[in-house]
């Protein structure tokens, strides 16, 4: 079986690329939780049944196709019904289904049982990145795609973890039950980690939960699995599973850092600092649509000399906060970040405009 898989993958890659080296898989990623293992086992069991049925059904059909043909002089025997076989091929499949349903039901119940978790983390979907809040420890952060734009545009060789790398992964301890609460800031996303057997939609305005208990340390990768707009393919999920001790270190480090770096929304910024900060925010959030040169692309309008970026600041702030058609609402950014990016847009691209302070953003949110 393994040999056949390798052969199949090899044949395909050889045929197309002339190389034998390939990471292609034709089955599940290696399971890292008991649930994921259960799913693989369930799938194997069902595939065994399916292959047996497949061989039997196709065997009979192709026997007929090859033997019962006019060109061999075979004469039709016009029988057309038989209640016994009809009953048999209704009842037997029903029994086979029952044999499949029983183990499947057990896994459903296990998967749904999120009680007794030691750690709870809230995963919030944003267009287009994830935010994680360690609700028991009082810190949180955003986790964004780390693959450089140049690799996506084919201007640079791609890393092995192309599109599966983030600036800050989710860090969890090994062997402990982790409960993930999912929700969303804008549209529906889905938090998926194939190696854990987990996929849970993140629905704005609602909280859903799922859980996993990773059996091994390591770094595991997944992707958003519900269409959420243009950069749906660019918001990966990376989970780093570490030892309990390392996890404790990580938590204390994060808590200290959170205290130190919190932006004070009442701080009054100087123009140059705010523009510099705004450029970072722009690159992380705006550039994908409006482009680095601010000229926009396709359905996404240019900012350069646009009415919004050069008109009254309140209109500019309102569109960033509330969005409009394809432009999402950026409520998820902090007051400082929004003030910075608006100031950047109004004072870059040859624009000369006003400065927007974080406290004004704070005011406008109310």
């Amino acid at each position: 079986m393994r040999a056949m898989r390798t052969l199949a993958a090899l044949a395909c890659s050889l045929a197309l690329r002339g190389v034998a080296a390939s990471d292609s898989r034709i089955s599940f990623q290696t399971p890292q939780t008991l649930i994921a293992q259960d799913i693989v086992d369930l799938h194997t069991w069902i595939m065994v049944i399916i292959i047996v049925i497949f061989v039997a059904v196709f065997g009979v059909m192709f026997y007929a196709v090859f033997r019962h043909r006019k060109s061999l002089g075979h004469k039709a025997r016009p029988f057309h019904e038989n209640t016994t076989v009809e009953v048999l091929w209704t009842v037997i499949p029903a029994l086979i289904l029952a044999v499949m349903a029983w183990p499947a039901a057990k896994v459903v119940l296990a998967q749904k049982d999120s009680r007794g978790a030691t750690i709870t983390i809230k995963a919030t979907g944003y267009q287009w990145f994830w935010g994680y809040d360690y609700v028991d420890y009082g810190f949180g952060y955003k986790s964004k795609l780390a693959t450089p734009r140049k690799q996506i545009d084919n201007a640079q060789d791609k890393d092995p973890h192309y599109l599966l790398e983030v600036d800050e992964p989710l860090v969890v301890p090994v062997g402990q039950k982790v409960r993930i609460l999912t929700t969303s800031n804008d549209v529906i996303h889905s938090w998926a980690m194939p190696a854990f057997g987990v996929k849970q939609d993140a629905i704005p305005g609602f909280i859903r939960d799922t859980w996993f208990k990773a059996e091994r340390e390591g770094t595991f990768r997944g992707q958003c699995s519900e269409l959420c707009g243009q950069d749906h393919g660019f918001m990966p999920i990376v989970v780093k599973v570490v030892s309990a001790a390392k996890f404790q270190d990580y938590v204390s480090q994060k808590q200290a850092a959170a205290k130190a770096s919190a932006d004070d929304p009442n701080k009054i910024w100087a123009m140059a600092d705010l523009v510099a900060r705004g450029q970072k925010v722009y690159e992380a959030n705006c550039q994908a649509c409006h482009q680095a040169n601010g000229m926009g692309s396709g359905p996404f309008p240019a900012l350069v000399n646009s009415k919004i970026a050069t008109g009254p600041v309140q209109g500019h702030l309102s569109i960033v906060l509330h969005g409009k058609s394809a432009m999402p609402a950026w409520q998820g950014l902090s007051d400082t970040e929004i003030a910075a990016v608006i100031t950047y847009e109004r004072n870059h691209f040859n624009h000369v405009g006003d400065i927007l302070q974080p406290k004004d953003v704070k005011l406008a949110r109310k």
């Binding site: 990471d23 799938h43 057309h80 209704t90 992707q223």
Partner: protein
């Protein structure tokens, strides 16, 4: 008696008047079921080419990792329009077109029951298609939230979404009217002696499909209207901030969406149940159990919708209920496959193009059924949902299922429609070409899905490269091969491989083969007499009272 003869004469005169219409008037004012059927079929084929071109746009981008051709937003517009156009523009109108052309002929009826409504139900389609195409050029572009139109994403979208919503309204209206016509025709206009349990399987599946459409098309219309009011009139059906629930849309959509799957599958079952007995020169095995199977599939299809939503976070009891109900559909579906095989068993088979497509259908639809069974298992579905496994699954059911049956039907009835035989060699080439490249395109997608590749992404991690490249090559070959089909059809209309007799297939016994080829503009103005109906039925069904 005198009165009814008089009516018949009057109708006759009326028809003659219509037959005089030439040029564009013949088509714009068409009330003849054959003309309307032809319109439907050409419309659906052009939509198939349009949706297919979009699919090639998708596959071109996915040939290699990285962004090569499209902006991601436009890529999403392509996947969305491809889905909407193929489902509502290509597959559904094609089946309605076939029903229009063939049901009156097969049932011994002079026309469809409501000829003028028939005209309107067709002519709503081109404006709907135009709205979808125009949406590409409005500010914000075409809808890009997937053919499922999930809010809040679809609420964010630009005015392209509004155009799509209106297009869906028109398509829904058209479907409902088409269905009313089919139901009325099948129930009221059968030839004397043709009881419900003696009519051809294609009539049965069209009837059940029409009922499904009448039941669920209004549900879809309701769902998209709620989207529209959420977008523009401040309602909050699907906005949590106003007390609504985005998941409510999914429940409504899939309450439509799952029966919709069978709306696209049941007529295919009917077609295959006509073709297999013809070329096996044997009656259809288990006719009555086939009818029961179609009806139970239709009923079960209303009770499984949430299996599209296993990752939404349903309560455990709901997961279990929808999993069990979904698994149950395998029983009647299995019965159908077994009956088809028993029809072929001990037959006297020949393998003309329609037969090849019918056998291809049985093989690949069964594969799609198996992947459906895998997906019915909720824990496995949670791994597979929104991955390429699902893409593979539904293309096995919709391309190798619905589309192959449509190709089979076209080759089967083309001699009746045009009076000419098609080029058999070219037809067989078209079959084998489609069969091979279909599998090259879609089989590797199972592997991609198992390994975790999400669907609806314009770019992907490197480990998915090989199979995506294979699928893209397959898709371009498959797509180009469809030009063979177009060429063969046009060539047949222009003379093809010579004149077709009234009954070009030795084993064909239904009533449409009793009229000349090409079928005259008006047929069965007087219903076929009972002896003729009986003769066909005896050969086709060998019903209880055969001597």
């Amino acid at each position: 008696m005198t009165a009814s003869t008089e009516t018949l004469h009057l109708q006759h005169a009326d028809h003659q008047a219509h037959a005089d219409a030439h040029g564009w008037r013949r088509w714009l004012y068409a009330t003849n079921h054959k003309d309307i059927g032809t319109l439907y079929l050409w419309f659906s084929f052009s939509m198939f080419m349009l949706g297919g071109t979009m699919a090639l746009g998708i596959r071109a981008e996915l040939f290699q990792p990285g962004l090569q051709f499209w902006h991601p937003e436009f890529f999403n517009q392509l996947t969305t329009l491809h889905g909407i156009i193929m489902v509502f523009g290509a597959i559904m109108p094609a089946f309605t077109g076939l029903a229009n052309w063939m049901l009156p002929l097969m049932l011994g009826a002079p026309d469809m029951a409501f000829a003028r409504m028939n005209n309107w139900s067709f002519w709503l389609l081109p404006p709907a298609a135009a709205l979808l195409v125009i949406s590409l050029f409005v500010p914000g572009g075409a809808p890009a939230g997937g053919w499922t139109l999930y809010p809040p994403l679809s609420i964010q979208a630009g005015m392209g979404m509004d155009l799509a919503i209106f297009a869906i309204h028109l398509l829904g209206l058209s479907s409902i009217m088409g269905s009313i016509n089919i139901v009325t025709t099948v129930l009221n206009m059968r030839a004397p002696g043709m009881t419900l349990l003696k009519m051809p399987m294609f009539a049965w599946t069209s009837l059940v499909t029409a009922y499904l459409l009448i039941a669920v098309a209004p549900v879809l219309a309701g769902a998209v209207t709620m989207l529209l009011t959420d977008r523009h009139f401040g309602t909050h059906f699907f906005k949590a901030a106003g007390g609504g629930d985005p998941v409510l849309f999914q429940h409504i959509f899939w309450f439509f969406g799952h029966p919709e799957v069978y709306i696209m599958a049941l007529p295919a079952f009917g077609i295959v149940s006509q073709i297999l007995p013809t070329f096996a020169r044997k009656p259809l095995f288990g006719y009555v159990s086939m009818v029961y199977a179609v009806c139970s599939i239709a009923i079960l299809s209303f009770m499984v919708w949430a299996h599209h939503m296993f990752a939404v976070g349903l309560p455990a009891t709901a997961q279990l209920f929808f999993m069990f109900m979904t698994m149950l559909i395998a029983v009647p579906t299995g019965v159908k496959v077994f009956n088809w095989i028993a029809t072929m068993w001990q037959g006297e088979m020949t393998f003309e193009t329609p037969m090849l497509f019918a056998i291809g259908f049985v093989c690949l639809f069964t594969v799609g059924g198996f992947s459906g069974l895998v997906l019915s298992i909720a824990p496995i579905d949670i791994q597979m949902t929104d991955t390429y496994y699902v893409v593979a699954h539904f293309h096995y059911v919709l391309v190798a299922g619905a589309l192959f049956s449509l190709f089979g039907a076209t080759y089967y009835w083309l001699p009746k429609w045009t009076g000419q035989m098609y080029n058999e060699k070219l037809g067989k080439l078209h079959f084998w070409w489609s069969m091979i490249w279909f599998n090259v395109t879609f089989f590797p997608m199972h592997f991609l899905g198992l390994a975790g590749m999400p669907r609806r992404i314009p770019d992907y991690p490197l480990q998915f490269t090989d199979f995506n490249s294979v699928a893209s090559v397959g898709a371009f070959c498959f797509g180009l091969g469809q030009l063979l089909f177009l060429y063969n059809v046009i060539n047949t209309i222009r003379g093809g491989a010579g004149r077709a007799p009234a009954r070009p297939w030795e084993g064909a016994h239904t009533l449409e083969w009793e009229v000349a080829s090409p079928a005259p503009h008006h047929t069965w103005e007087m219903p076929p007499d009972e002896a003729l109906v009986k003769k066909g039925l005896r050969a086709q069904l060998l019903d209880q009272d055969h001597e």
